[in-house]
């Protein structure tokens, strides 16, 4: 448990927020107006944590606390404004509802392509194909275009790809509750196996039951800072209190 797979040190991230919404030449050329339109938002203001091998770390916090930004930074989608992220091994994000699937291509074609996007070679992707199709439970539908799939089928396929690419770190952003109960069960079983093989998970969910069931540790993010870190049983009560507190007060 001591080996670190993701190490985050004093991470800062800020974005420019546009109040006009339109990204056009106008906003760049009229530079004296730009200052009014753009506002800097500090989403993360110095976050540090370690994710160990085989560990499941869950992030909680109210909407806009910076959870998804943190995940995207670990997935190398964003560049940090300052601070360091060190990852060991391959990081695979679980794509929500078949993002990255092309509707006109078959499930099979999409599987191979997505697996390659997550870092497999073409050979490896073709080798995993059967395993992925088997896991998704789509059977003969796999050769039909993805546009004919239900959202549940798409999500199952997306999940099946992500967990079969042999990632070392799995990034799960509120996508577990997609399949039916049987599929959810299958996923949870798989995740247990994944962790026992040394894989680690970064989990964002608002489902506190899931956290208590799976997470080894919980990180509570508030206004871009770590408010509290520890065992779920230690952090969740405070978090719950903070979320319900203002409403409970008379």
């Amino acid at each position: 448990m001591s080996e670190v797979s993701v190490s985050v040190r004093d991470l800062h991230k800020s974005f420019e927020l546009s109040h006009t919404g339109a990204a056009s030449l106008k906003t760049t050329l009229l530079w004296w107006k730009r200052k009014k339109n753009l506002e800097r938002i500090d989403v993360l203001r110095g976050v540090s944590f370690d994710l160990h091998r085989g560990e499941c770390l869950s992030l909680v916090g109210r909407n806009g606390a910076g959870k998804s930004t943190l995940l995207a930074l670990v997935a190398r989608v964003y560049r940090p404004t300052s601070g360091e992220i060190e990852t060991h091994g391959r990081v695979a994000p679980l794509l929500e509802l078949g993002a990255g699937f092309h509707p006109d291509l078959s499930g099979q074609e999409n599987v191979v392509f997505n697996a390659m996007m997550l870092g497999l070679s073409r050979k490896q992707a073709n080798e995993r194909l059967d395993q992925i199709v088997e896991f998704s439970g789509l059977g003969r539908f796999i050769s039909a275009p993805v546009r004919t799939y239900s959202s549940g089928m798409q999500a199952r396929l997306g999940f099946a790809v992500a967990i079969n690419v042999d990632a070392d770190v799995l990034i799960v952003d509120e996508v577990l509750a997609v399949g039916d109960i049987a599929f959810e069960h299958k996923c949870f079983n798989y995740i247990e196996g994944f962790r026992s093989r040394g894989g680690s998970i970064l989990l964002v969910t608002h489902n506190l039951v899931t956290i208590e069931k799976f997470a080894d540790r919980t990180l509570w993010l508030q206004d871009g800072l770590v408010a509290k870190e520890g065992l779920p049983s230690e952090v969740i009560p405070y978090y719950r209190q903070a979320m319900e507190g203002p409403q409970a007060a008379p």
């Binding site: 974005f15 030449l25 997935a75 794509l95 929500e96 993002a99 291509l105 996007m117």
Partner: protein
């Protein structure tokens, strides 16, 4: 830039997979598939030929062979640049989730269009061969000059990739780029010797004592390449050009290949490729966080 190229090389398999995907998607739901991309140039060239041969009464034999030789590369450039505008912007939902070198997006678009262009060239060779065999057109498609074609293709590819880098990157932030590029490409079609010959431009400007403007005209590398393709693919045919104002049109061979113009085109293309890639790399981390 070297680190970036190394990273791109590491992801080369994904690049090919994306090229394959684009080729597959393009005609997935159409009955005639690839023939649609042949139909467009054939119909366009038919119309141009009718206008120039019959309305404007140009007496060049097999006018269509010359027009096609320049129109196919022009169309490659045009479609490539138009498509590149959306290549990154359309993929923003994916690149918000997964990391891979972003330059794969415009590059796969350029390569997919380039493959289409090569296929169209193959059909063009068949066309030339038929003209040669059936109508006794003076030009055989197979002269030693054909060996120059790969050089032209490489320069053309570099040019298209360079401009694509600029357009795809800036269009993420300013969607005005797409419209500006659309108008620019439309105007460029008239300022490129596709419908007419560069010899026409040369004699018209020479008669006015403005040969320098001929060089200015060829600062556009697409213009130089169009003529170069023509002289490579249809090298020995006679064309009809008016040598001066008030003079009767004469049949003549094309002017000699102008190496100065060619090297200018090569230089412009390479500069665009390098600066385009540099600009793209500078902007690529901000694609996902555009304001």
């Amino acid at each position: 830039m070297r680190a970036e190229l190394k990273e791109l090389w590491r992801f080369r398999e994904l690049l090919w997979a994306m090229v394959e995907r684009e080729l597959r998607i393009r005609y997935k739901n159409s009955l005639l598939g690839f023939f649609w991309s042949l139909l467009n140039p054939l119909v366009t060239v038919l119309v141009i030929t009718v206008v120039f041969k019959f309305f404007l009464q140009n007496g060049t034999n097999n006018y269509s062979a010359y027009v096609l030789a320049a129109y196919l590369p022009f169309m490659f450039f045009q479609v490539c640049i138009m498509d590149s505008a959306q290549s990154v912007l359309g993929a923003v939902p994916i690149i918000k989730k997964v990391y891979f070198p972003r330059e794969i997006l415009p590059l796969s678009n350029v390569i997919a269009n380039f493959i289409h262009f090569l296929l169209a060239l193959c059909v063009y060779f068949v066309y030339l061969f038929v003209l040669w065999g059936v109508t006794g057109f003076a030009t055989s498609p197979f002269t030693w000059k054909i060996f120059f074609l790969p050089v032209l293709l490489i320069v053309n590819f570099a040019l298209a990739a360079g401009v694509s880098f600029f357009v795809s990157a800036y269009n993420v932030f300013y969607e005005d780029v797409k419209y500006v590029v659309g108008v620019a490409l439309y105007l460029m079609f008239f300022l490129t010797p596709v419908m007419y010959f560069s010899e026409t431009v040369y004699y018209a400007l020479k008669a006015k004592g403005m040969v320098w403007a001929y060089y200015l005209y060829h600062l556009n590398p697409v213009a130089t390449l169009s003529t170069a393709y023509r002289k490579t693919l249809v090298p020995t045919g006679m064309i009809e050009v008016k040598p001066g104002p008030g003079q009767a049109p004469v049949q003549m061979y094309m002017l000699d290949f102008d190496w100065t113009l060619f090297w200018i085109a090569v230089a412009v293309s390479l500069v665009l490729l390098v600066t385009g890639y540099a600009a793209f790399n500078k902007l690529k981390w901000r694609f996902v966080e555009r304001p």
